[in-house]
């Protein structure tokens, strides 16, 4: 199989450039395996990974123009191009800096609460089975940024829409019955209604089972009930 990899060392290179070479294809190969073979046999490439099983989110990159987690993405025999994840500054080669996204997500995930719980005051949730499914699947978001990189609204309207990764965090805490923040207001003010509900986030998410659109609909229902739908969306 022929691989093309975009390389860039900001300390040395005037611009990014492609290197290419052939590695042997194997049945059931992952994109990460192909990249490792390229690195070992053809040309050193700097990329980052930790868990190699879609839990840490560190190997997010573009494969043939589509954002993926390389570790769990099957690759076909043929020609393929690896590039750094779209939308983030490149540190080197395929390693990008997602610190800003990470900081934003921490803010959104931080539980708002007036006081701590004791064993006696931790009350069980009262959610239906559909919500239980949504929240448990949302737990597995690994914050890889693949959804944001694929989102057409983030690409065209970044000032107005915070992006699906952060919106997932808000939906998660909205469903968390121990959270006392106003997550619906946060979601609306961060541009939830600019989302065009195209479902790209569901399509590219390496966790497969996170129901982004289901969560967006749930948040919109709550916003409508509150009467806080912005004028541009009415």
């Amino acid at each position: 199989m022929k691989l093309q990899v975009l390389k860039f060392n900001p300390a040395d290179d005037p611009a990014s450039y492609y290197v290419s070479g052939e590695v042997e294809y194997r049945e059931q190969m992952t994109a990460m395996e192909a990249l490792v073979e390229f690195h070992e046999q053809i040309e050193p490439v700097n990329f980052d990974f930790s868990c190699a099983c879609r839990l840490c989110g560190r190997c997010a990159m573009m494969l043939d123009g589509i954002p993926v987690l390389a570790c769990v993405t099957p690759i076909t025999d043929g020609s393929h191009t690896f590039e750094p994840l779209q939308g983030y500054p490149v540190i080197r080669d395929l390693i990008v800096d997602k610190a800003e996204l990470d900081a934003r997500l921490s803010l959104a995930y931080d539980r708002v609460r007036i006081e701590d719980f004791s064993r006696q005051t931790v009350v069980p949730p009262d959610f239906d089975s559909a919500t239980k499914e949504l929240i448990y699947h949302a737990e597995f978001c690994c914050r890889c940024g693949v959804c944001d990189a694929a989102c057409p609204t983030v690409a065209t309207n970044p000032d107005s829409y915070v992006g699906p990764a952060t919106m997932t965090a808000m939906a998660y805490r909205f469903m968390d019955h121990l959270d006392q923040g106003d997550r619906v207001m946060e979601a609306v003010s961060d541009g939830m209604y600019h989302c065009i509900m195209c479902g790209k986030c569901d399509e590219v998410c390496p966790q497969q089972d996170i129901g982004h659109l289901g969560m967006w609909k749930m948040l919109r229902d709550a916003a409508e009930k509150r009467g806080i739908v912005p004028g541009y969306a009415q």
Partner: protein, 612 residues
């Protein structure tokens, strides 16, 4: 096995170093130049920093000095409990982590692997504590940690640190999985990092690999390492330091992208082995822990987020290569993970009934499997595996490993001012599972470190020579040339392959001696020829791996030698020539010291307690 560990001399005097370092100030970083570097370095710091340094391939990236009040190395499961306790006692905590914060090690995974322990008000009567006494421990240390622990109920603790545990029963009550009282499914520790980063009492420096500990006149005064994005040398000076890094399991075997481990490639015992080279004793290295994890397809091998697990609780689904059940379904001992692993070793390797990769066949059929694995079934299907209708190959994978500096009952290492939240002895008498006690030892280590600070003398002078030597060591690794060089990934695979032969669930003098011979050969023949293909200091994967390989080789050899020396069966592996536990001779910690280039072992009595 002697090797030259000397540091190449360079024309930079201690006076020069002090003059440069004196420019630094509290809470800020200093960009400087140590050697004859041609460009100034990046001066950015903190977790948000990254991006381009201004170094060139031939130059270096200078250094920074970061002043700390209370330094914690690591941000994993154990470290988070250290950090929370230290902050609650009023310390400003500086956290250094090798990986990207929130994506590093065990706490940087969106997984559900750990079980929170809900400990009763009186730990002496708690069935969880009693049940796990058999798996470890330095009893005296545990007694102190348990008596101190301000939040013994880890489920409530986790909830108060932002976690949710949504996997509930239909009536909403918390689901205790595996039917073991006190153990709860549904932990996602990343939420705790969110909370930690938003506190004003913490500063985080991530993507920073600690490569050495700064010791001045017998006292730890901080740590040294590399900021990976820029290649800048970072000096963290601190009056007290707590190490809370994970066990090194990445030495055990290799598939295409993973070791035979659900652990992470960042856990390479860097700080522990630096201390070993400083002369500190390393204990518990022979103790390793396993369960069974699917290894098909090869690219998804041993991934907790991509495969299915065969634990003692799934023994009914574990078959040998011929399709025969490995465990007797009526054997109640199987629930004991020590017995489970020893028996696995006997069948797979002793009776040679294993699969091609030294494993078993996992045939889960329609049986219940934990949700965090259930969700992987669809992913495996994408690769052509339907685990509900066909068996999948699975191997014993090493999920935990001892091999840390020895500590006293107050969690301090053999160096003043340096504490270790999972030091030797936290594994212990039966080579057990530290993972369940990490969060009990963490707060105790933080508290002890705080108590130390109250009476420790002011640091009035620092001997910087160690920092200078470490700086040169790292640059030499980066710029080394050899006509017949070997790249880091090749050496790494050789270390992993050697350890696969000698650190598995089935050990004997033959396979361990072969492993030691190969590790000695790697040290003698390969390591001096280890070179990297591009010398730029900017995030250089090969440079990082080359530094790690030195540590991996050390921990590998200590571990295999410790196992060979222990002529009995204890812990989660079977020693085939000595299948019985021998308390008369071996109820002790083995501590390994580096003396004149040789590894020497001492037996040390296990501290006991009548309290529990």
């Amino acid at each position: 096995m002697k090797e030259d560990r000397s540091i190449p001399a360079r024309p930079v005097s201690r006076r020069d170093f002090l003059r440069l370092s004196a420019i630094g100030s509290v809470g800020t970083a200093l960009a400087g130049s140590l050697a004859a570097c041609d460009l100034a370095s990046s001066s950015s710091t903190g977790e948000g920093s990254a991006g381009a340094g201004t170094s060139s391939a031939s130059g270096d990236s200078g250094f920074e000095i970061i002043n700390c009040d209370f330094l914690v190395i690591g941000s994993g499961n154990n470290a988070l409990s250290v950090i929370a306790q230290a902050m609650s006692e009023g310390h400003h905590v500086t956290v250094v982590d090798k990986g990207t914060l929130r994506h590093s090690g065990t706490s940087g995974m969106s997984w559900d692997a750990f079980s929170a322990v809900e400990i009763a008000d009186d730990p002496k009567k708690d069935p969880t504590i009693q049940g796990y006494l058999g798996y470890q421990l330095n009893a005296q240390m545990l007694e102190k940690a348990l008596q101190f622990d301000p939040q013994p109920n880890k489920i409530v603790y986790n909830i108060n640190h932002g976690q949710y545990m949504p996997d509930r029963q239909d009536d909403g009550s918390i689901a205790f999985y595996l039917d073991i009282p006190g153990y709860c499914q549904g932990q996602f520790y990343r939420r705790e990092i969110d909370q930690m980063t938003l506190k004003s009492r913490s500063s985080a420096y991530d993507r920073t690999m600690i490569t050495d500990i700064l010791i001045s006149e017998g006292r730890c005064v901080g740590a040294l390492g590399l900021h990976l994005p820029t290649g800048s040398f970072r000096i963290f000076r601190s009056p007290v330091t707590v190490l809370a890094t994970g066990g090194c399991t990445w030495i055990y075997g290799c598939f295409s992208v993973s070791a035979y481990s659900i652990g992470t490639p960042d856990n390479t015992a860097d700080a522990d082995m630096a201390l070993f080279r400083h002369g500190l004793g390393i204990g518990d290295a022979e103790y390793t822990q396993y369960d069974v994890m699917s290894c098909e397809p090869r690219g998804l091998a041993c991934g907790f987020g991509s495969g299915v697990c065969g634990d003692a609780q799934e023994a009914h689904a574990i078959f040998d290569a011929n399709g025969e059940l490995v465990f007797d379904p009526n054997d109640s001992d199987v629930a004991n993970r020590i017995y489970f692993n020893q028996e696995l070793g006997r069948v797979v390797f002793g009776e040679k009934r294993g699969t091609a990769n030294g494993g078993v066949l996992l045939n889960v059929g329609d049986s219940h499997i934990r949700y965090s694995n259930e969700r992987n079934i669809e992913l495996l299907r994408e690769f052509g595996f339907d685990v509900r209708s066909q068996p999948i190959e699975a191997v014993p994978e090493m999920y935990e490993h001892g091999g840390q500096p020895v500590i006293d009952e107050n969690m301090m290492t053999e160096v003043d001012g340096l504490f270790h939240a999972r030091g030797a002895g936290t594994t212990g008498e039966v080579g057990g599972a530290q993972v369940h006690f990490n969060r009990i030892y963490g707060p105790w280590a933080a508290h002890c470190a705080g108590e130390y600070l109250k009476t420790a003398a002011e640091i009035d002078d620092i001997d910087w020579s160690g920092a200078l030597a470490e700086y040169h060591r790292l640059q030499e690794i980066r710029t080394r040339t050899a006509s017949d060089g070997i790249y880091p990934h090749e050496i790494r695979k050789r270390i992993q392959t050697a350890c696969y032969g000698g650190l598995g669930v089935y050990r004997n003098a033959d396979n361990m001696s072969a492993a030691i011979a190969e590790l000695e050969r790697i040290r003698r023949e390969d390591m001096p020829r280890q070179v990297i293909r591009n010398a730029s200091p900017v995030w250089n994967k090969e440079w990082k791996e080359a530094i790690e390989n030195i540590n991996m080789l050390d921990i590998a050899e200590i571990s295999v030698r410790a196992s060979l020396g222990r002529e009995e069966t204890r812990g989660m592996y079977l020693r085939s020539e000595f299948p019985q536990r021998d308390d008369a001779n071996w109820a002790c910690i083995q501590v390994c010291y580096l003396k004149d280039g040789d590894m020497e072992f001492e037996k040390r009595e296990m501290p006991r307690s009548d309290w529990l």
